[in-house]
């Protein structure tokens, strides 16, 4: 660290400016331990990806990627084994799409309310409530879907609904992701400089016009980033969908019926009695790798969007 000190004539420092050895050592120690902590996160990430890749690639020497990525029958544990992952992808995407239909509009409108309409007092109540919502363990949401939402839907609108069904999963995952959309969108709308709002008010805009034509568009990239993160979260969501949506890998779109998501499949096999080291067991790494690729892609997109949003008002 101190190697760049220019030696002008090689003579030593006078006592006044002399470098203290112990202080120097202490600084180096601090730097090293901080580096070690940062390194832990990198090493774990690399380790996880390496295991996923190794096991996943072994799987693909046994089952062709073509069959895996295009097959529509997922029955790896049956006699007539089918290794097409599409039914799981289908289940995952259906739930994620349905959850987005709940979370994006509600989250956006809540954010607009919080940042533009709510008085400081109301805001100071709603914000913590949303944070609590974000902190509820997802398994609780799963039970909520299973023991409340589904029976409620059965008694009111859909008497034919199954015990496990995609609809309740969509609703509950949607509710879970509302705080993510609303808090990030709220932040990005509040980051819009007050001067821009005043400029709009100054030419006679109403509050609604200020929100729809100035604040919202100016915050759009942050808002879109929150959408992508929420969808990514919905894709990766595990416990709630395992409980609510069930374990029936299938194609099709009948949301009153049970599906199986990629995450729910991984849970089932991990907890089941499939022997380790078999192709059947390795399916979970292939599925996890696919899932990882999907969420990674979403996160990369959102990082790009956020980047643009940072440069926005310069």
């Amino acid at each position: 660290m101190a190697t760049g000190t220019p030696a002008i004539d090689g003579s030593g420092a006078s006592a006044r400016f002399k470098r203290s050895r112990s202080r120097h050592l202490f600084e180096q120690l601090i730097g090293l331990s901080l580096f070690a902590c940062a390194a832990v996160t990198v090493v774990t990430t690399v380790g996880i990806v390496a295991i996923l890749l190794a096991e996943g690639l072994t799987f693909f020497t046994e089952i062709s990627p073509l069959e895996f990525f295009t097959g529509t029958r997922w029955t790896p544990l049956f006699q007539s084994a089918g290794f097409g992952v599409l039914p799981l992808v289908n289940g995952t995407l259906i739930v994620a799409l349905g959850a987005s239909l709940v979370a994006l509009p509600v989250g956006t409108l809540a954010a607009i309310y919080l940042s533009e309409y709510a008085s400081p007092q109301i805001r100071s109540i709603i914000k913590p409530v949303l944070e609590v919502l974000a902190g509820i363990p997802t398994i609780v949401f799963g039970y909520f879907a299973l023991t409340f939402i589904t029976p409620f839907l059965k008694d009111t609108i859909f008497p034919e609904i199954g015990v496990f069904n995609a609809l309740s999963g969509m609703i509950v995952v949607g509710i879970m992701t509302i705080p993510m959309v609303s808090s990030i969108s709220d932040d990005s709308m509040r980051a819009v400089p007050q001067e821009l709002r005043e400029a709009a008010y100054g030419v006679g805009a109403t509050k609604f016009e200020v929100v729809t034509r100035v604040t919202f568009p100016a915050a759009l990239s942050g808002i879109v980033a929150s959408y992508i993160l929420a969808i990514s979260r919905a894709i990766g969501e595990t416990m709630a969908v395992t409980l609510a949506v069930g374990a029936t890998p299938r194609m099709g779109f009948d949301i009153l019926d049970s599906f199986q998501t990629m995450t729910a499949y991984i849970v089932n096999v991990s907890l089941g009695d499939t022997p380790q080291g078999t192709t059947e067991f390795r399916t979970i790494f292939a599925v996890a790798l696919t899932l990882f690729a999907m969420t990674l892609l979403m996160n990369l997109i959102s990082a790009r969007v956020v980047q643009r949003y940072r440069e926005r008002y310069e």
Binding site: S119, P120, E195, V203, T206, R312, Y313
Partner: protein, 305 residues
């Protein structure tokens, strides 16, 4: 369409007179022209010359930010198609007073206003006055250039669009940009972002945006403080041209600027109680050469502030 700021409440209605119907998009020529409010004796007692054609009448205005009183008892008449400067030390309430003239202060929670302001005799404060309509008639240019992150064209067209302007938008945009002395510099890049312009150009864009809604009065709060001397010169020239069509009220820290551009000057001061009051108001040449109040003299000779 109810304005959010109503929640602040507490706007004292000094004058119960019902606001005249005002046509939002129409400019200076219409209502209230012949209405001549009588001048209160206290308002301009320190000067001989009177104001013949009052565009803005500020009548005993006071304002609180929450529990803190920021200005008190300010009364002055603004002459039509002139430039009126507000000067005074930092914190004396110049911006506060200026922002009362287009009801901008109400966007700040907890603000309470007393007194009355009239434009062409029409009161701006009252339970049945819509601040949105007020702001269409009284435009504003801010200290820091604040173009929308939209194209140059959309920046200028913004106000007209939300006001439901029916005429030819291209013409309006060109006319406004010409009036703001910006047209020649940007006519080939109207589709580009307003943020891509230099600071001085952005400020002229903001002026174009303000005049595109054809207000009667334009308020400017230190419009040159973020600009270099050449850009400042251009804005000052522009202000003088605009004074032919608009009534302009400008806040400035720069006394040379006030002396250069304004016809009349109001000097404000917040003394020990930190409440801003109007000390002296008169013709700029007179106020700068032979002020009536010793505090004015102290200020313009740089003895404090």
């Amino acid at each position: 369409m109810a304005d959010s700021t109503n929640s602040n409440g507490g706007v004292a209605v000094v004058d119960e007179q019902v606001a005249d119907e005002r046509d939002a998009a129409v400019g200076a020529s219409s209502s209230g022209r012949d209405f001549r409010p009588t001048l209160g004796a206290a308002q301009i007692d320190q000067q001989e010359d009177t104001i013949e054609d009052v565009a803005v009448q500020i009548d005993d205005v006071g304002l609180w930010y929450g529990a803190k009183k920021a200005i008190e008892g300010v009364s002055l008449d603004v002459q039509r198609h002139e430039i009126t400067a507000l000067i005074g030390p930092s914190g004396c309430g110049k911006s506060t007073l200026l922002r009362c003239i287009n009801r901008m202060n109400e966007l700040i929670p907890g603000v309470r206003i007393e007194g009355q302001i009239r434009v062409d005799g029409d009161p701006l404060y009252g339970s049945d006055v819509d601040p949105v309509e007020v702001r269409r008639a009284v435009g504003m240019v801010f200290q820091k250039p604040n173009p929308f992150p939209k194209s140059i064209y959309e920046n200028v067209a913004f106000g007209a669009r939300i006001n439901g302007y029916k005429g030819n938008m291209d013409e309006l945009v060109e006319r406004s940009l010409r009036q703001a002395a910006l047209w020649d510099e940007v006519k080939d890049q109207l589709k580009e972002s307003g943020l891509a312009l230099s600071g001085g150009q952005q400020q002229r864009l903001c002026i174009a945006r303000a005049i595109a809604v054809q207000p009667e009065v334009i308020l400017m709060d230190e419009p040159c403080s973020a600009l270099d001397p050449i850009a400042t010169q251009r804005i000052e020239d522009l202000m003088q041209e605009l004074a032919a069509d608009y009534t302009i009220v400008i806040v400035t820290h720069n006394m040379q600027q006030a002396a250069r551009v304004s016809n009349r000057t109001a000097f404000m001061l917040a003394e020990e109680d930190l409440v801003g009051r109007l000390v002296e108001y008169g013709r700029t040449d007179q106020l700068f050469t032979s002020p009536n109040d010793s505090r004015t003299e102290d200020y313009i000779t740089g003895r404090f502030g």
